[in-house]
Amino acid sequence: MATAAAAPPYAETTPVGAPTGLWSWITTVDHKRIGILYLYTSLFFFVLGGVEAVTIRAQLIGPNNTLLNAELYNQLMTMHGTTMIFLAVMPLSSVFFNFLIPLQIGARDVAFPRLNAFSYWIYLLGGVFITVPIFFGLAPNAGWFAYAPLTDRIFSQGLHIDFWVLGIQILGISTLAAAFNFITTIINMRAPGMNLMRMPMFSWMAFIVQFMVVLAFPVLTIALIFLQFDRFFGTNFYITSNGGDPLLWQHLFWIFGHPEVYILVLPAFGLVSEVLPSSAKKALFGYPVMVYSGILIGFLGFGVWAHHMFAVGMGPVADTVFGLTTMLIAIPTGVKIFNWIFTLWGGSIRFTTACKFAIGLVAVFTIGGISGVMHASPPAVLQQTDTYFIVAHFHYVLYGGSMMGIFAGIYHYFPKMFGRMMNERLGSWHFWLNMIGMNMTFFPMHFSGMLGMPRRIYTYDAGQGWDVFNMISSLGAFLLVPATAIFIYNFFRSKKHGPVAGPNPWDAPTLEWSIPSPPPEYNFATIPVIESRYPLWDVTHPDRTADIPHTTEGWDKAESAAHAAPVHEETGMKTAKELGIPMPLPTAKPLVTAIAILILFGGLLLTHITGLKVAVAIMIGGGLMLIFSLYAWLTSPLE
């Protein structure tokens, strides 16, 4: 491994020509820097959600524990779910969407760089908006899926639910803006020759996820607007005493909520599909099937929402339909598992930390998948739903699936992001502690659930047969604390002192590894020409890609090879200006616009504190600020 001193000059760990200083981060529109902002922010929220989880487990370590009272527990439980889903796992996926999509498809930035910055800032502000109340005992307290009519003002006075309704709306703006941005980017900005079936698998999964976001989040927005109107303007969408229908909320929420599960897990599937081939020195097995199964999961994901509602009494026909569609979705998911295993089959597997986490996903997500099929049988799920069995299931999916994949992605792409390698020894500790802790925490929950323990209870009585399982779960959760601490330490230490990585430390086949680490602000000095799925292996290991069909589309192989690999050595030291590449101008206007939206929503919240006059005044102020900042943004030149 090269050390910093011996590294070739292009392997500097600061991108060439990159501006420095706080202001440069505030005004950045560079997709890579925005990705890194997402990384820090979402890791912070991941740790926060983890602290909430560990506190919850500390309360549940034994029966009749009094560490937390009911009110505080309910807030922590709600915030743990909300934080992990909306503020940690989704933005951790966004890290890779931002950082990787342009690099993988051979683009110099996303389609709308300033909109991208706006997405980040509105995420940050929305995250702060929904998180801060926990420090005042005012956090949302109705669970992450906030079932009506508990969330109506009749049953939830105080600001708790107001923060949730408005906070999630703010976060939804961020997600939707980002989704349209990435869809446009992938459709329009692929390098010449990069047709869809040559796109790296992560970009494919990201592509599918953006469509799911675009179709699912508006439904959540509608559900939230109804709730917001119930709470602020006296409508009766969900208020049962006035004839409202609480099941309307459940249907709307889960039409969003189930696709959301795949929104959370497909990016991780994509990352694993990147890590395994370079670890096994072998192309991804069944690439087209992986693409189709991803699309199928995305498509079926919209037809299964009511399997969250088998206990509400929808009747035998609806139960049958949603049971069967839910079973169907297991097939494309299983196909992915087998394709990953056969990617490894016949390979030469190097167990890097990234590879371990990727394999960990395959091994552990399978358990979540199997318990998922158990939930597809409506009569059986009547004994499982809303118990700890469900808690076990979705943590195997979201921790064993999403988080394992994201960790794999972080270890794999850290060298590309920061130009240095993460420590493999610490990484191994992180992996094994994580694996043991995670299984210790969540596996016993299968038992406590089937032995009758409801979820979302702040305490339980002695003598119910749940004590041992809860004790093991709590100890397992405590084990995840050192695991995560080791990861964070490794992260910051490696960022400063890790060995210099060079452009392609993993001998990986895709485009992002052809440019220096970290990449220059313009990414590609010359836009590469693509003629296969694995442009780098075409040059370095032609044997590995020989039988994958190549088409030339007007370029011959030699020409494309000349473009793809050695570009960085000639131009890596040059800035965009020297190369004559136009770059978008840095600007703080997206941030100002995001602040204006926060003021707008915050003003609405104030109607419940200060009364209407002050609130309307603030909202008008926020609205004017929004109009002016948008005007300034839209009339200022991009480049």
Binding site: F155, I341, R350, A363, F447, G465
Partner: protein
């Protein structure tokens, strides 16, 4: 019991199977297990679960063995061969698409059959029970028998019970894990669920709980189900539909009370004393599950919250208690059949409160100490409790106020407790 094995994450299948066997043997240790075929409903569910667990285990073993073997076989070795050059295999792809589909069909067929069987209308002649969820307690009504009770459900073994589930406020979910699946209680609609307890079952108690998050004290919304023999149920029902056992003093109630009480009084007069009654039967109050026979899991162990005190050694007077009860806030929410002024319906029906083993949503045992403290400051006893704090000088944790005027002294509370304890 080989519990230690749960530390090993990959022993999924073996452990579950082992546990299932063990559970049959020691249901006392897992009193809320879902694996006991106590009703037709639960037997159906267990049959499905068994097939799900079997196929799940098969898939799990196949995947993990294949994965681990691949990892071992194709680990990178210094002298290892270069990877073989395979990028796909159509026959394999079809295989692992079709095989899971076949397994799913085998799960789907019994699933669909069970859906339609368990959701068919309840058989004629079922015992009708209305379950009404409240934040955070359960109301049970037997419309055919004219009984309203709270937090303790009696059902006869061998007879189908048809539950009609509604809610007074937010969504709740009704679940007795030992007896079958759960069903939500949703505003503006009536849900149904039915099952038939095994006729061969001995008289026993099961814990139940609310399973849909319903606000602050969701965890404290529990109940007990007593599955009893038919003759026990008959005796219990006959007594429960009678008016309160504690006589209403004539001078203070007047004609209205008499008019109301008359049919009920006749009823209670017809309760025949059971000669040489077995456990649980009493001459004057019909059958009730004997408190002394309650297993440990059905006795609440909730610790008393700190900071609550009650004057020691007070003796309550039931008649004085009745008078205090009848002129204070109690009557606004509670009903006591036979006490003509106590007609509230917001809180639990107290007609036969002394026949119950627990109070406050099965959070505390129904004894003098807990009942006294409950009346004194229920909001400290149970987070979020809607019943107001009543004790003089007590701090109401929800409103933040200290109760002064109108608050009950310890002696007054002791009197009310004496009255309530007379309501067998």
């Amino acid at each position: 019991m080989n519990r230690k094995i749960h530390w090993r994450p990959f022993a999924h299948a073996a452990v579950t199977a082992g546990l299932l066997l063990a559970l049959g043997a020691c249901s006392q240790e897992y009193p809320n297990s879902t694996f006991n075929p106590t009703t037709d409903f639960n037997t159906d569910i267990i049959a499905l679960w068994d097939s799900l667990l079997f196929w799940g285990t098969v898939v799990f073993v196949v995947v993990e063995v294949l994965l681990l073997w691949t990892l071992w076989r194709y680990r990178r070795r210094p002298d290892g061969p270069e990877p073989t050059n395979v990028h796909g295999h159509t026959a394999l792809e079809i295989t692992w698409t079709v095989l899971p589909a076949v397994i799913l069909v085998m799960i789907a067929i019994p699933t669909v059959r069970t859906i339609f069987r368990t959701q068919a209308p309840a058989p004629a002649g079922s015992l009708q029970v209305e379950v009404i969820g409240h934040q955070w307690w359960w109301e049970f009504r037997y419309p055919e028998l004219g009984i309203t009770t709270a937090n303790e459900l009696y059902i006869p073994v061998g007879r189908t019970v048809n539950f009609q589930l509604t809610t007074a406020d937010v969504i709740h979910s009704f679940w007795i894990p030992q007896l079958g699946g759960k069903r939500d209680l949703i505003g503006n609609r009536v849900n149904h669920m039915w099952f038939t307890p095994d006729p061969a079952m001995t008289t026993q108690v099961f814990n139940g709980s609310c399973n849909e998050f319903c606000g602050t004290s969701h965890a404290n919304m529990k109940f007990r189900t007593f599955a009893v023999q038919p003759n026990e149920f008959e005796s219990w029902a006959r007594h429960q539909k009678s008016a309160a056992a504690y006589p209403v003093a004539q001078e203070s109630t007047g004609a209205l009370a008499e008019a109301q009480q008359e049919p009920a009084a006749q009823d209670s007069a017809t309760v025949a004393p059971v000669a040489a009654a077995p456990s649980g039967f009493t001459a004057d109050s019909g059958y009730a599950f004997p408190a002394a026979d309650l297993p440990d899991f059905a006795r609440p162990h909730t610790p008393l919250p700190s900071g609550l005190t009650f004057t020691e050694g007070l003796t309550g007077d039931a008649e004085r208690g009745r008078q205090i009860y009848s002129r204070t806030a109690c009557i606004g929410c509670h009903k006591i059949e036979g006490n003509p002024i106590s007609i509230g319906i917001i809180g639990p029906n107290l007609t036969h409160i002394a026949s119950r083993t627990t109070i406050a949503g099965a959070l505390y045992p129904n004894d003098t100490r807990h009942l006294s403290l409950w009346i004194k400051n229920s909001r400290v006893m149970k987070h979020g409790s809607i019943m107001p704090t009543l004790g003089k000088g007590e701090h109401d944790p929800i409103t933040g106020a200290v109760i002064n005027t109108g608050g009950l002294t310890d002696q007054e509370i002791a009197d009310i407790v004496a009255y309530l304890q007379a309501l067998k």
